[in-house]
């Protein structure tokens, strides 16, 4: 990792000097970057250096002013990450906002806010919401509210998002315990070393994973009405589109009628619910659309049907435990998720890797990018009406990639391949030959074929050109990343913007297109596959001469890692966009805070604006072009 951490562009991404092992205090204050100094100079009394990293805004009334300065003067135009940390010993909940410059990249800027921890299940005092400045904050703030009970004043729709309204408590607070709670950290004392073979069900009063507050009467209780999501959309509209997203605001026109006849026609508006069980929502996503005729006039998403509490479990796991869990985030791209996580931990621990490790990471990582793009394009075509024919061909190709990964790592999808400072296995010579055959022979042919049959296809073009348009500025404001952002003319790719691994050793391009519609998103993916192949080919060639076979672990192999106290935001460019891990360590064997900046989730933020004004059938296509994976959306 030495090349990476030495990059001059990103001083703040380095962990602060570690405190003594196991000690919560004294805590190192953040190093000041020039940007942070500029803010401190301008807003003197309102900010101070925060713990570990970034600036703490002590005067909340100045927060919006500071954020405006950050956006307009310092040009941090994208809100990357918003979350909170519960410092229970200090009695505060700290809200963390991280901003980045798109497309220049570099280290993110961190602004924090602290609010006192309320007692019990109370909400916190309100903090200012960033939604007016950064519309991309909406979903992230809702998640922080859902998990910590932090109230964001100014968020247009502050409801629970992953759990349901009426759920008892704020799950990520440190003093909130779930039904199967066994201990704060793993390995659990009750099970180790003696072993306790009781099932979880036998240990808890309800013999099940539930818990009810005292005085709860299941007969008298009125569940939060599911229909309120419909009610909130029922406000009458005149069929015009209120968001100016480039689709114009023209009312519905029926051919052969003039404007006054049209007004008399008074078309009805209906609300249609799609999902969570629906063949075209790519999993258990729920989408509620309001339609005027066939035109979408409003759209709301309901998420959380696959919320598996990754972050709560992650805070209890040891550092090493979490690697296989990251596979289950975006389960099409397992290895790449692991990479982001181990990158963060390696930066905090200052671990070095070997050349071989870096090459193997690039090769396996880019192979999963190919697999993911095959999947994405196949299923986008499904949504476009080419039902399963392209998908079947691409699944066949993906299976070949998966075969190789299985041979190397032992599992088809959940590879559990990365280790801190290393990887778990090297390729054998037969596997190496397999990889060469794939990278030099088979996959280039497949991609040519794909391009040949699909790119100029009339139906594909008719359905996708101009569909789901979003301008570059709006994309940035909505925190969109990945191929969708690059299809809108912004060449932002974390592999270049905040480099990691050995990507600086390869010759490859970041494909950028300018129309910002579904067709360009498709094209960007196709071109990215070619670039990935180029990277894999170079990596295979270089690895043969520049790395030693079997040298797959930098530093000592260990099962139990203590990570120095500090925090880190590590990000990688997965096939879906920027996947970030916000990690806080208090020097123990478990992460104190483990947050995933999920690109699928945040990309969904812009779904409404893309779909309003389009036909309902197009909303399905737009969703397909965003390429979400529900495991990562809901975590």
């Amino acid at each position: 990792m030495s090349e990476v951490t030495a990059t001059p562009a990103k001083p703040a991404a380095k962990p602060a000097a570690p405190a003594a092992h196991g000690a919560a205090k004294p805590v190192a204050a953040a190093k000041m970057t020039p940007e942070m100094s500029a803010i401190a100079a301008k807003f003197g009394g309102a900010v101070e250096a925060a713990q570990y990293e970034g600036l703490l805004v002590t005067d909340h009334s100045k927060f919006i002013e500071i954020a405006t300065y950050v956006r307009d003067v310092l040009k941090y135009n994208q809100l990357t990450n918003n979350t909170a940390t519960d410092y229970i010993k200090d009695g505060v909940i700290e809200v963390v906002n991280q901003f980045t410059r798109v497309p220049q990249g570099g280290a993110p800027l961190t602004l924090k806010l602290r609010v006192p921890r309320p007692s019990g299940h109370d909400k916190t005092q309100p903090v200012p919401s960033l939604c007016p400045l950064y519309p991309g904050a909406e979903f992230q703030e809702r998640e922080t509210y859902d998990m910590y009970g932090v109230v964001f004043e100014g968020n247009p729709d502050l409801r629970r998002i992953l759990m349901w309204e009426g759920f008892n408590g704020w799950p990520l607070r440190k003093d909130w315990k779930e039904a199967y709670y066994e201990g704060d950290t793993k390995p659990f004392e009750s099970r180790w070393p003696g072993g306790d073979h009781k099932l979880a069900e036998e240990r808890v009063p309800w013999e099940d994973n539930v818990n009810y507050p005292p005085g709860f009467d299941p007969f008298a209780f009125k569940p939060h009405p599911d229909g309120d999501i419909y009610d909130s959309m029922l406000a009458p509209s005149d069929g015009t589109v209120s968001i100016d997203n480039g689709h114009g605001v023209a009312p519905t026109i029926v051919e052969g009628l003039n404007a006054s006849e049209m007004a008399e026609l008074k078309t009805d508006e209906i609300i249609v619910n799609m999902g969570p069980q629906h063949p075209s929502t790519h999993g258990v996503l729920r989408m509620v659309v309001k339609l005027d005729g066939e035109k979408v006039t409003d759209l709301k998403l309901a998420l959380g049907y696959l919320h598996r509490n990754h972050e709560k479990i992650g805070e209890r796991n040891t550092w090493l435990h979490n690697i296989p869990y990251t596979d289950r985030l975006d389960y099409i791209t397992g290895i790449y998720n692991e990479w982001g996580y181990v990158l963060g931990v390696e930066r905090m621990m200052g671990l070095k890797t070997t050349d071989r490790v870096e090459y193997l990471r690039v090769i396996t990582g880019e192979l999963t990018r190919l697999a993911s793009h095959f999947w994405a394009i196949g299923f986008l075509l499904n949504d476009l009406g080419a039902f399963f024919t392209p998908a079947l061909y691409f699944i066949t190709e993906r299976d070949l990639i998966i075969d190789l990964l299985e041979a190397v790592t032992g599992s088809r999808m959940m590879c559990n391949y990365m280790r801190f400072g290393g990887v778990s296995r090297d390729f054998t010579s037969a596997q190496w030959a397999m990889a060469r055959e794939l990278a030099f022979e088979r996959l280039p042919r497949t991609i040519d074929e794909l391009d040949h049959f699909l790119t100029e296809n009339e139906i594909l073009k008719a359905r996708s050109i101009g569909t789901g348009y979003m301008s570059a500025d709006r994309c940035i404001a909505h925190s969109l990343t990945g191929p969708c952002l690059r299809a809108a003319g912004i060449g932002y790719d974390v592999r270049r913007a905040d480099p990691y691994g050995y990507y600086d050793r390869f010759d490859f391009d970041i494909p950028v297109l300018y129309n910002g519609d579904v067709y360009d998103r498709y094209l960007v993916r196709v071109q990215e596959m070619r670039e990935s192949l180029k990277i894999i080919q170079q990596a295979l060639n270089q690895a043969e001469t520049q790395s030693k076979v079997g040298d797959i672990q930098g530093g000592k192999k260990a099962y139990n890692h203590r990570v120095p106290a500090g925090q880190c935001y590590a990000r990688v460019e997965t096939p879906k966009g920027e996947l970030g891990y916000y990690l806080v360590s208090d020097g123990n064997q478990n992460p104190y805070k483990y947050h995933i900046r999920s690109c699928s989730y945040i990309n969904l933020n812009s779904m409404k604006e893309m779909a309003v004004g389009q036909k309902v059938a197009d909303s399905v296509v737009i969703l397909g072009s965003l390429d979400i994976v529900l495991g990562e959306v809901d975590r």
Partner: protein, 210 residues
């Protein structure tokens, strides 16, 4: 035919009721056998994926593993047209009311395969506050497959097991043909302060009473 059948017995060969040219084309079997034989080779699974396991389910249905060899490839998105629910992934509390409802909407006879450790028991996410420890807490399961995710071969194996189970059922004894014993489906839980299983409502009321 996989079920046991015989050619026309000798004593029937000269029976005037059987036309001569059919002599070698008549099979005798029981109604149960022929009925189950047809049923087990034409299951229509519900097109319904929950999590990572659903990806392996799609791969099972794709070219390499080719579910249609078993006659099971026709996945229907509507529960009204499906015979089989493959619970392919983590069952969350937020999702379980919908799953139970889908199950109730499927016409009988209906079967359930719990695919993977999550659907079986909660799997790697069992301790999570939003995770149901196995789909069998709410709907009856016919076949469980271990694995995280189970390989496509394992899913195929579960189908073979389910076929074996179907073979053993008899029209005379199965519930769905007996009068007066209609199945009204399972009670749909609701989302209160936590997941409320209405079958346990009395117990909940007692235990939480102040």
């Amino acid at each position: 035919m996989a079920t046991q059948t015989t050619n026309i017995p000798d004593e029937l060969k000269n029976d005037p009721r059987v036309p001569e040219d059919l002599n070698n084309n008549i099979f005798i079997t029981t109604l149960d056998k022929i009925y189950n034989w047809g049923r087990k080779r034409s299951m229509w699974p519900l097109l319904f994926g929950l999590a990572c396991c659903a990806i392996e389910m799609i791969c099972t249905a794709a070219s390499r593993h080719d579910l249609s060899r078993f006659g099971w490839e026709l996945m229907r998105a509507s529960p009204r047209q499906a015979d089989l629910m493959i619970v392919s992934g983590t069952v969350t509390k937020k999702m379980i009311p919908q799953i139970v409802r889908l199950y109730n909407q499927m016409p009988e006879p209906r079967y359930v395969v719990a695919m993977g450790s999550c659907a079986t028991s909660g799997g790697p996410f069992k301790e999570g506050y939003n995770v149901v420890s196995g789909i069998d807490k709410f709907i009856p399961v016919d076949v469980y497959i271990p694995g995280c995710p189970p390989r496509p071969e394992a899913l195929l194996h579960s189908f073979v097991k389910l076929q074996e189970k179907i073979e053993k059922q008899s029209i005379r004894t199965v519930r769905w043909y007996t009068t007066g014993k209609t199945d009204n489906g399972m009670l749909v839980p609701y989302l209160g302060p936590d997941l409320v299983d209405l079958r346990r409502a009395d117990e909940i009321k007692q235990k939480t009473a102040l």
